[in-house]
């Protein structure tokens, strides 16, 4: 087999394996987890009818969505109305292409596309996700979806800035945009949120923790806003906008928006894990070159970290109330933007001073 063919086959295997066997089931079980965790937080029981502890509920949900009537209202702009759900789902899944979800398995690096502009690709694709929502809001030709779409657009612009600025300190430190290098660096120098790990005596590590923590907080909050999760779910805002941008959608088209949101949550968590929480690395576990079992453990560790973050997403959703719109804008432009900006100078000063 010539190298090109084997490359194509291996890439296809990775795409199918990661998207269809891991991400999509994870998306549907994220919905289940959301329902179950929210229920437990609110002293309810949650889904418990379909299968043991309601574990087959996602399958039943999928059946329901597929069998429902796929209704297209007469007043919508048909082409964009059909396009929007795809646009909501595709970027969320595409982003995962550059994220290293494991070390190596049988010598094959566990990343679909190890490109040197990794994080730029992530931002470029992730910001396309908003088009799904804006187009849905516009094509629906009705006031609530329209408001939802407009809100989503302005929210995206305000938080994209702090999202981008928050990661700059990391790349000042590493000097490489490739996400596999980011993980490699964290293995050698401690996770980004614990830059002092390993070299406990060095004050540089402890000082560096300050801008890293600020970056982490700003980035995590901006991811919440990017994925339209509470407390930033203004485009949806059931109580004011009757569901917002997806008000006019039904059956599988609605499900695509719904699942797109969860897919975006998963990719958002994957980026957070890769940038700040050491990717697939777990202290004491060697990488895949020491045997395939470690390769599998690395992959498992990566998704376990994502699952933990998803739990936090859900936990926050069922704790915090929604922001008012002006508060959201103020927070984005007046606080996070400035904090992220100052943080870059702080990190740069520390890095120059200690010559890291």
């Amino acid at each position: 087999m010539n190298p090109t063919t084997s490359f194509v086959i291996i890439s296809l295997l990775k795409i199918v394996g990661i998207v269809f066997l891991v991400i999509l089931p994870m998306v549907s079980y994220a919905v289940y987890a959301e329902r179950k965790v929210s229920a437990l937080i609110q002293d309810r029981l949650g889904p418990n009818r379909v299968g043991p502890a309601g574990l087959f509920q996602p399958i039943a949900d999928a059946m329901k969505f597929l069998l429902k009537e796929d209704f297209t209202p007469a007043h919508v702009n048909k082409f964009y109305y059909w396009l929007a759900p795809c646009l909501a789902m595709v970027p969320a899944i595409t982003t995962i292409a550059v994220v290293p979800f494991g070390s190596t398995l049988f010598g094959v690096p566990m990343v679909i596309a190890d490109i040197n502009v990794g994080v730029l690709f992530v931002f470029a694709i992730a910001s396309l996700g908003v088009y799904g929502i804006v187009i849905a809001g516009w094509a629906s030709n009705s006031k609530y979806p329209f408001l939802g779409g407009v809100r989503s657009g302005s929210q995206m612009i305000s938080y994209e800035l702090s999202l981008g600025l928050a990661v700059v300190p990391i790349f000042l430190l590493i000097g490489n945009l490739r996400l596999t290098e980011v993980v490699r660096y964290q293995i050698d120098h401690g996770w980004m949120v614990f830059p002092f790990a390993g070299d406990w005596k060095n004050p540089a590590g402890w000082l560096l923790a300050v801008p890293m923590w600020i970056s982490f907080a700003v980035f995590a909050i901006a991811v919440f806003a990017e994925t339209n999760r509470l407390p930033f779910d203004l485009p949806e805002a059931e109580t004011e906008l009757v569901g917002g941008y997806h008000t006019e959608y039904s059956s599988m088209k609605f499900a695509l928006f719904f699942l797109g949101e969860y897919a975006a949550m998963i990719t958002g968590s994957a980026i957070i894990v890769t940038l700040f929480l050491g990717g697939w690395h777990f202290p004491g576990v060697p990488d895949g070159s020491h045997g395939w079992i470690f390769g599998l453990i690395n992959i498992f560790v990566f998704f376990a970290k994502i699952a933990a973050l998803l739990f936090i997403f859900i936990w926050v959703r069922f704790t915090l109330p929604r922001f008012r719109y002006d508060q959201l804008m103020r927070l984005g432009w007046v606080f996070f933007f400035e904090i992220a900006l100052v943080n870059i100078f702080l990190a740069a000063a520390i890095i120059t001073f200690f010559d890291r």
Binding site: L40, I41, D43, R44, L45, V316, T319, L320
Partner: protein, 176 residues
Amino acid sequence: MAITVPRPKLTWFERLYLPAIVAGMAITLQHFKNMLLGRTKVTMQYPEQKWDAQLPEHYRGAPALVKDEAGRIRCVACQLCEFICPPRAIKIEPGEIPVKDRFSKVEKYPREFDIDMIRCIFCGMCEEVCPEQAIFLRKDYAITGLTRAEMVHNKEKLLEIGGIMHGVVLKWNEKK
């Protein structure tokens, strides 16, 4: 008259919001933990657990026709219940008892007796008005059906729910 509700003055610590957020997160996590450990009392799991044993004596469930000890349908088709029923759920078609019958003195019996359980409001008027103590509200409450027709209880169904009633007035017995 409009009342201006004064906004509380927040200290800078309160205006930081972060302590409040952390406190809120702690509260929800506490609830989550208590549920996981089974410390929170949850509602009864209906189809598996039922409340039937605790139903009070006066519980008003599905109306049903009863028979007496001799196995006779107690209803004499006087149609009082049909008239009193507020949502008009009852439909009776009276028939005559043949002269040779042991109970021929009773004269009438219901040939058809339908109660539309979609209409019935479980008010108990039928039980109250019946001069024969022939119709009682039993304790069946889970009345379901897939069609409207299925939800109409006919005479057989009503007698099946009702069963035999002991210890009621037996005014026809001495006239046999």
